[in-house]
């Protein structure tokens, strides 16, 4: 793919990315020749079949999985391991179950705001927890929250450290489809305010369209790469009502379903 953006606009740059897992029967190439540029303040969703290497790609961006070849840079400098410039929201909420909602968010906030006062740090945690609708649950243990509420804490935790890039790995995949819709609204509302560059993996075509500026379609592995990209032209801020009633909505939907079915 051509480099279509001015270098100064690029937040995240994946160049010729490759991932190989050695197996008993020789090397298994998960991804190869994968190129993707993501602009500042862009929201990109990634769809593809199970096992196509979406999660591998995201975990390489997060720095949790070494790169076999190629390069990943953020604002022009190559990443080295994980860091608080990239916030991750996982499919399983991955909270510390013995800590409260506040304490879970505070873990990250403490790391990146060493220069803030104790009160300021507490305010940051409270601010984000209330943005995701958890005013009443600051001091509840993570283990006592429903899965949907735990995922809300996960969203608050990721935004609270003000990352440069937000990485979301099917964050709502384990929720029922109605709770999922609710949390999409929570996510997009907080994102509208912060405009953090976001890369999100999803299985859900409706979710991919509703949230994204661009939907990236990955081919099936092995040697997965980017098969196609769909620009979503809806204005922001979006509401679900205007999006699903837009004349283009079901065309976008058909385009993506066709890609997945062939």
């Amino acid at each position: 793919m051509e480099n279509e953006f001015a270098p100064a606009d690029i937040m995240l740059d994946l160049q010729n990315l490759k991932k190989v897992y050695p197996t008993a029967n020789g090397d298994y190439i998960v991804l190869e020749h994968l190129n993707l540029q993501i602009k500042k303040e862009e929201f990109v969703t990634i769809i593809g079949h199970s096992g196509c290497g979406k999660t591998t790609m995201l975990s390489m961006i997060a720095g949790l999985n070494p790169i076999s070849d190629g390069k990943i840079s953020i604002l022009g400098s190559a990443i080295r391991g994980p860091g608080p410039d990239r916030g991750v929201i996982f499919q399983a909420p991955s909270l510390m179950p013995w800590l409260t909602a506040m304490e879970n968010v505070m873990l990250g906030v403490k790391q990146v705001f060493p220069h803030a006062s104790r009160k300021q740090r507490a305010d940051i945690c409270k601010y984000y927890l209330s943005r995701v609708g958890l005013e009443g649950s600051f001091h509840k243990k993570a283990a006592a929250l429903s899965q949907g509420m735990q995922q809300r804490v996960g969203i608050a935790r990721a935004f609270a450290i003000k990352p440069k890039v937000l990485l979301l790995d099917e964050p709502f995949g384990m929720l029922d489809s109605l709770t999922r819709g609710n949390l999409q609204d929570v996510l997009i509302e907080i994102w509208n305010k912060e405009k953090i560059t976001a890369v999100m993996i999803t299985h859900d075509v409706d979710e991919a369209i509703f949230l994204a500026d661009r939907v990236v379609m990955m081919t099936s592995g092995p040697k997965a790469k980017i098969g196609d990209v769909l620009d979503i032209g809806f204005e922001r801020p979006r509401t679900r009502k205007t999006v699903i009633e837009h004349a283009d909505y079901y065309n976008y939907r058909k385009y993506l379903i066709d890609f997945l079915e062939h």
Binding site: R80, P82, G83, D176, L178, G181, I244, K254
Partner: protein, 288 residues
Amino acid sequence: MAYLELKNVQKSYGQGIGSQSVLQDINLEIEEGEFVAIVGFSGSGKTTLINLISGLQEPSSGEILFKGTPVSGTSHERGVIFQNYSLLPWLTVYQNVWIAVKETFPKKSKKERDDMVRSYLDMVNLSPAIDKRPKELSGGMKQRVAVARTLAMDPEMILMDEPLGALDALTRGKLQDEILHIWEKNKRTALLITNDVDEGIYMADRIIPLLPGPNATLGPEFKIDISRPRDKTELNDNPEFKKIRNEIIEYLMKIGHENDSSNESLYLLPDLEPKDLRWDFSSKLKLS
């Protein structure tokens, strides 16, 4: 007279002050041959509703009539596909289905029963796993055994409690088609509980939302006026599909947000930028 009728059904758990009302003012009529889907949020009492209709539980007040007679206890006429599979762990896949067939069709010959068990297990693609026990199966496979077991009993009314939730999209689509096929061919009546609006529109004649609990009750119904057989890929271009899908989604989202606290934060965010830890963070962190 409706085939299945629920009149002012109310269900609460516990006694006295501690009693918790789950369902309230449930009124529902299903005609013979109809396919009705109930769409609701987690924890709204969907499973309780299925248990009441199947006869596994009794309503605290109100009445449930099946073909004009009050429901008392379970019956082969109403088959349930449970969300938690409810297989017998000490029996094989084959035996789990066979035991249901034997109970329902005591007069059939051994050979006929064997044929039935095998053909339904084949329908759900479980022939290779026929001698496995439930603990050796994945969640999706267990779900398929449960579907085969209920359909093999050929009940007059098929009650389904989110039966396909744990399956991947391909298997899910296939089983939707199998359930529809049996419902249409044998002229059965069906009640499906689901959280998937698309599944409801694809399968049902009517969709009724179950509003969030406690005190859950049924919302206004949406009629699905799309001719059968329906085609999944063509549905996306069908104006009626788009219209009804949007109406239902908007309705459910509105209901969902009524339970939500406001998104306006009472707290002020301190004007601070995070420390750029990128470089000293990676060097401190030893990745092995």
